[in-house]
């Protein structure tokens, strides 16, 4: 007779590792990183430049420049670019993040040779046509207006301001007037300096064994006219000392809102820190998965939210902890107190052995699952490259996660998970007492 009350025995998890990438230095100075995997006849090609917010001379210029690459070259109109990409069933986008900008092509492997000249063209010969620039600015400003209707957006924006400072690349809110004032000449100039092929990190992954040489060739030669390579600015801190004058309020009042968005967090040790893997484990116990302390308390016990999460956001110049949830409108302050209570529990009590075992296995299984596709493998590999991590980083993650003990995690909680160190932002319907 089948006894359904007894779980099947737990089998040990097989060790998985990130496949090694092949790295080629191209004559242009660019590095080409290749992860070949022929499971599906597809390719992802990414060209990454130090052209994010941390590199922009004026607020918004990085984002505008990145998106203008697809809006016309010296020989192709925006329409022709869109048509060509679509005709091959491909996707081509360029976006700027905080630290880098990335031009990404997805396509079937068989179309890569036909698409490479287009990729090369948008990268090296963007024309920044005025009409497209004005339309793009208008659309972007309108889209931000829509986003600012959302308590979740407002809370995140204010949180970054409080954590990093309003005038830093990581903390600066979107400024419509500044964006509207940007010119094609500025974008052209930023492109000329920040998109130098000699500084590019190129990532090619998928079914690419036969196409690797083509890609290497396409990005080997610095375009005629040469490049102005600007020295990379020193990695100054992305945060600034705040003066009492410009500290924004931690309350954003949205009259009539049905929910309040809560964002809490603080600066956090970078991935290069010796405790990084144990801290990841601790944050997962706290709020990193469906069975986490926060989820069980705020959702599964009290029913105040659809979800609540804590995670670590690593950036090249600063890493932070972020706790986020959208809760029933009048429950925001109560939720903050409960979150703080869960921090103190982790400081005061050892994590029970059962729970720790569960979170370790969950994390290790999730890691194996995240290596399932070559695109995900490449994303993990990119983290190594951009965060300056050693090649055995993920091996260390597996080993240190397995070996972590409750006493060490408690000490880390006492050191880092301290309620008093947290910035708290609430965007919602009622004005509460400011902290």
């Amino acid at each position: 007779m089948l006894d359904r009350t007894v779980a099947p025995p737990v089998q040990p998890l097989a060790r998985v590792t990130l496949p090694a990438a092949e790295v080629l230095s191209l004559p242009s100075g660019a590095r080409l990183h290749v992860l070949a995997n022929n499971a599906q006849p597809v390719v992802r090609l990414q060209l990454v430049f130090r052209a994010g917010k941390t590199a922009e001379p004026r607020p918004g210029l990085a984002s505008l420049t990145a998106r203008m690459l697809l809006e016309g070259t010296t020989t192709r109109t925006a329409r022709q670019i869109a048509d060509e990409v679509a005709f091959y069933g491909a996707s081509l986008e360029c976006d700027a993040g905080f630290d880098r900008s990335t031009l990404t092509l997805y396509c079937l492997t068989r179309h890569l040779p036909a698409l490479l000249p287009l990729v090369s063209d948008v990268l090296t010969n963007p024309a920044f046509p005025e009409a497209e620039l004005e339309q793009l600015k208008t659309r972007t400003i309108q889209n931000v207006r829509v986003e600012r209707q959302k308590t979740s957006f407002l809370a995140s924006e204010r949180f970054n301001e409080l954590l990093f400072g309003s005038h830093t690349p990581y903390g600066q809110p979107f400024d419509s007037d500044a964006y509207q004032a940007l010119t094609a000449a500025e974008a052209q100039q930023f492109h000329h300096t920040a998109y130098a092929l000699s500084n590019a990190e190129i990532f090619l992954c998928g079914d690419v064994a036969a196409e690797q040489a083509l890609v290497a060739h396409a990005f080997s030669v610095v375009p005629a006219g040469g490049e102005t390579v600007v020295p990379v600015p020193a990695a100054s801190a992305a945060t600034e000392a705040e003066t009492a004058v410009d500290v924004p309020s931690n309350r954003v009042v949205v009259a009539g809102s049905l929910q309040a968005s809560v964002r809490m967090g603080r600066d956090w040790p970078a991935p290069t820190h010796p405790d990084t893997h144990r801290l990841k484990l601790l944050v997962n116990v706290f709020g990193g998965y469906f069975g986490s302390r926060l989820m069980r308390n705020i959702r599964e016990d009290k029913g105040l939210t659809y979800g609540i999460y804590a995670s670590v956001a690593p950036r090249e110049r600063s890493t932070n902890l972020i706790i986020g949830t959208d809760v029933k409108g009048e429950s925001a302050d109560f939720t903050v107190r409960e979150i703080e209570m869960e921090m103190r529990r982790l400081q005061e009590e050892l994590i029970p052995a059962d729970e720790l075992e569960t979170v370790k296995n969950y994390l290790l299984g999730k890691f194996a699952n995240e290596l399932s596709t070559v695109f995900e493998q490449c994303d993990k590999y990119k983290t190594l490259v951009f965060m300056n991590l050693p090649s055995d980083y993920y091996t260390e993650f597996v080993q240190q996660t397995e070996a972590a003990d409750a006493e060490t995690l408690q000490k880390l909680a006492q050191q880092y998970l301290t309620p008093a160190a947290m910035k708290v932002v609430i965007a919602g319907p009622v004005e509460g007492p400011a902290d």
Partner: protein, 411 residues
């Protein structure tokens, strides 16, 4: 091409195995043949609320999530108007834990009063987070009842209103479980580093003993053909006015479905599509505009949706959209334009097969439509569409009297 084997247990559970030993993982997908279309008009949102309750403990296992996490697995579920789908991924060595968990909640639930009370609150917060507290979040709550006046697609999966969720009682939960959650109403797909023989053994062991019964017989009212244009004007404190146009179209399994799919792509898939090129770029009437299908199992909708640039009147924007729509009935699409959207569709199919879970889901969905082999027939059906087919589809669908138009005005 997705390879698979299939078998059916004596209790009616349809099982499909897709072996892929290139990964150390396995996925287990259970699709129940029940969605919000099967709900009572006075108890909408129930299929989805029930999905939440499936995680509140089963008859022999108090917690669903914890034992799965303990073996390195993770899971989730979704409810649509057509189906309720539960899926988990875990290291293949621990596949049996997935069978243990999924079979127990198909066998019976714990029916915890506390679980129901908490999940009612959680779903109410989900309703607010996804629909009521978002700019434009209530669009579908308004558009669906305009387009569907008889068929249950008139309400959304989240429900018509919050009170339907707040008023759900345990008797409803038990009745819903008895009616829909049985092996003969479900499809099990196991994929990844698993052998067909092992899956068969585990399926017999864990799901085999669950009693079967007569399958649920769906008898839903048919939506009568729309006879005249419908209009609704609403307003909300949003920055940009928005326009939505929904045209009735054939069901997912209909012969003509793929022609409409490609027609929709020519109209509004991405930046090279006609709507974007003409209305965002050339005339600058819209901030963005696109077209898509609901893709439902019963006859669905082709929906054009766009946000207007500030200062543009809804009537002018609507007229401009209708002028483009009219081109499709006045003349054939270009052969090259059709080839383009076929290439896009082909690409989507190939990229859709990268993810193991997605392959499992597509197998289950094809089986639900009657034949798992449909999963490998999509490409042929797309390629078979001709310029004349697209014209025919446009003539039958893109008619003003077949359209429901929603003006969502910024105030």
């Amino acid at each position: 091409m997705i390879s698979f084997q299939e078998f059916t247990l004596d209790n009616g559970l349809r099982c499909i195995v897709h072996e892929d030993f290139s990964t150390p993982m396995a996925v287990l997908n259970v699709m129940y043949d029940v969605g919000s279309r099967d709900e009572d008009a006075e108890h909408t949102g129930f299929a989805h609320l029930f999905e939440h309750l499936m995680f509140s403990g089963s008859v022999n296992i108090p917690s669903y999530d914890e034992p799965l996490q303990r073996v390195g697995g993770e899971n989730n579920a979704f409810t649509s108007s057509d189906v309720t789908n539960y899926y988990l991924s875990l290291p293949a060595a621990n596949l049996e834990t997935g069978f243990w968990l999924e079979s127990d909640r198909m066998l019976n639930l714990a029916f915890s009063e506390n679980g129901l009370e908490v999940q009612r609150k959680v779903v109410v917060e989900e309703f607010k987070q996804s629909y009521l507290n978002q700019p434009y979040g209530d669009v579908w709550l308004k558009l669906k009842p305009l387009a569907y006046q008889t068929h249950p697609y008139q309400w959304n999966t989240i429900g018509k209103e919050i009170s339907h969720i707040e008023n759900a009682v345990m008797d409803d939960v038990r009745g819903f479980f008895r009616k829909h959650y049985a092996p003969q109403n479900a499809i099990l797909v196991v994929a990844g580093a698993v052998s067909e023989a092992e899956v068969r053994r585990l399926a017999e062991k864990w799901f085999g003993p669950i009693p079967g019964g007569p399958a649920y017989q769906r008898q839903l009212p048919t939506e009568p053909a729309q006879q005249e244009p419908r209009h609704l004007r609403t307003s909300a404190p949003v920055p940009l006015s928005a326009l939505y146009k929904a045209y009735h179209m054939p069901a997912r399994s209909d012969e003509g479905y793929h022609a409409v799919d490609l027609l929709s792509d020519v109209l509004g898939r991405g930046k090279s599509a006609r709507l974007h090129q003409r209305l965002v770029k050339e005339l600058a009437l819209f901030n963005n505009i696109s077209a898509s299908l609901t893709g439902s199992l019963d006859p669905g909708l082709l929906v054009i949706s766009g946000k207007l640039n500030a200062g543009v009147a809804l009537e002018a924007a609507d007229a401009a959209v209708e002028a483009i729509v009219a081109e499709f009935t006045a003349q054939d699409v270009d052969a090259q334009e059709l080839e383009k959207v076929k290439n896009q569709a082909e690409s989507s199919l190939v990229f859709g097969e990268i993810d193991l879970l997605n392959r499992a889901l597509n197998l289950a969905y094809s089986k639900l439509q009657g034949d798992a082999h449909l999963v490998n027939d999509e490409s042929r059906r797309i390629q078979a569409v001709t310029v004349a087919d697209v014209r025919t589809a446009a003539e039958s669908i893109l008619r003003p009297e077949n359209c429901s138009t929603l003006y969502y005005e910024a105030v």
